[in-house]
Every structure is written in C-alpha cells, then in structure tokens.
Symmetry: C2
Subunit: 152 residues, 2 copies
DNA sequence: GGTGAAAACACTCTCAG
DNA sequence: CTGAGAGTGTTTTCACC
C-alpha cells in the first residue's frame, strides 16, 4: 500500500487518540469530513489499522512491576519449540513473547504486581514449563519510552 | 481503585476492541446501557483507562523488522543517564525503551523495514549517542505473543 | 448499586454532484 | 474530493427499584 502525507498524518493521529471524531481530524488535516472518513475506512478495510484498543495505566491496576525475561531452550526440536510457545500463549502475565536470534531463544515481557508475584510466577508457572535450559530476568527500573505508535 | 468482576470483564473487552458500542457491551455484561456507560466514564475519569489508540499491522506498513537492543552505558552519572534518555525519546524508530537491572542498562525495541535500515539506524543514530559502552542486538524471528491487554 | 425511557446532540455513513 | 441528509449511537436526565 502507498501512503501520502495525509495518510501518514492521519495514522499518527489515530495511533495517538482513536476517539477523535472525523470532524476533528478533518480540521487537523484540512480535508472534508467525508474525505477523512473514506481514508479511515480504506485503512481499516485494507488491514493497515488492525484494531482499536483501550490502554490501561499499569500503576492504577497494580501491574507496574515489569520483568523482561530471557529464555533459552534445552533443544531446538520443532516439537519443543511449538510446545513452549503454546504454553506461553496461555499465561496471562506474559504480555509479549518474541522468538529472537542470539544467546537466548525468547524474550518475554511479564507484567505483575510486585516481586512476590514475580517469585510466585517463576516458581509455579515459568520454570515448570518443559525444555527450558535457562532463564535470565531483568527488572524494569523505569519506562523511558513506551509507545504503540509507529511514525511513518 | 477496586474492581469487581464486571469491571474486570469490561476492561478486558475494551482492551480487545475499543470500538464496541455501549449497547453491545451491555449485552455481553448483562447490564443496562446506562450502567455500562457510567462504569466506562468512571474508569476513564479515574485514569485506569489512559487512552484509546489504533494499532497498525507492522507488515502492511513495512516495519516488521524488529530488533531488541541491549545498551550499556559507560558510566551511570546522572547527567549521562538523562542525556541518553532524552536522545532516545527523539528517535522515532525506537518504540520502547526500558531502564533495567542487570548486565545491560537499557532494553530497546526498534521497528524498521529491513536489515539495511537497521544498519543505517545503528551507524547514523544509535551508536552516535554519547556515553554508550556497548550494545547487543537480538533480531526478532517471530512474534509468539504480542498483546496490549492486561488480564485482571 | 441497579433499570428503562425520553430527549438532545453528535457522529457515521451514503449519495449526488 | 465536497456538502447535505438520513440513520444511528452517545450522552444526559429523570423516576424508580
């Protein structure tokens, strides 16, 4: 798909605040309401905009103890990889899990209440998974930048 | 703040799809439109719901080359830390940056088009920052799980 | 806490140009 | 792309359980 400057600006506005009305956006973009409406529908229907979501304040819901956990598997057999990934999917504490290159196989982002919950999670959930060779956790000290928006 | 089961379900629904009407939500929750409306307003006004955003498909916008980069500073002087964080904030390619405990000081998530853009970013942007001792990058092979929703 | 209804308003969506 | 109109959802208030 091809994006002109108006599309790029529109996508940035919607990534910052999805509850703006087409009227507000039409003013910011210098277009008519209908023109903006049709551009948004095109971006939605083509799948460029995948979904609209509410973001929560991690402090207010007591999930601001964030851990980035590196995981290494004992073997890279297809069966082991698939089983590990399947089990990770079911853990609500794990909000992100990326299969990566390098010393470790996976990097997980885990959102918890405090270090007691972290200990509980590691002992009763993560380390009970099969085929894990080792893990290495980094605790988040502060969130320097954390955006869902991608600038085009 | 205190959340009952209805609030928890409501927050989950809104984290999955923020464009649902209060009518749809009232049906799913077994409440009246007014009751749902007032709960949502309360969650918005208290800051539990911090914002509503559009999420984009990284493949469709050609930013699906994701790198998780570990950065170590040469010294932890307050001045160096603040300068590094300030500069990171201005880089649009960096969508997330966490100050963490452990061997490295920061973990960054960087979204780019391809490995050529990665090379360019490292050479012309990241490694030109002051006070960086070392970096270690892991390329994302696959996204096992990537959600913005936190289950309460 | 909750319901249901009514009214005013704003927005979405379609259509002719 | 624009402007206008019809349809729909939002928002508020109210009496009441």
């Amino acid at each position: 798909m091809n994006f002109d400057e108006t599309d790029k600006n529109l996508l940035l506005f919607l990534q910052e605040d999805a509850k703006q009305t087409t009227k507000e956006l039409s003013y910011k973009l210098g277009l008519s309401v209908t023109a903006v409406y049709e551009r948004i529908k095109k971006l939605e229907n083509s799948g460029v905009i995948s979904k609209y979501v509410a973001l929560l304040d991690k402090h207010k819901i007591e999930r601001n103890f964030v851990v980035l956990c590196h995981v290494k598997l004992s073997q890279h057999k297809k069966e082991y990889v698939l089983q590990f990934e399947k089990e990770i999917m079911t853990l609500p504490e794990v909000t992100e899990c990326f299969h990566v290159s390098g010393d470790y196989d996976y990097i997980l982002k885990i959102c918890l209440k405090d270090i007691a919950d972290y200990r509980n999670f590691m002992v009763t959930k993560l380390t009970t998974l099969q085929h894990i060779a080792s893990t290495h956790s980094s605790f988040m000290i502060s969130e320097v930048k954390n955006t869902t928006a991608i600038v085009l």
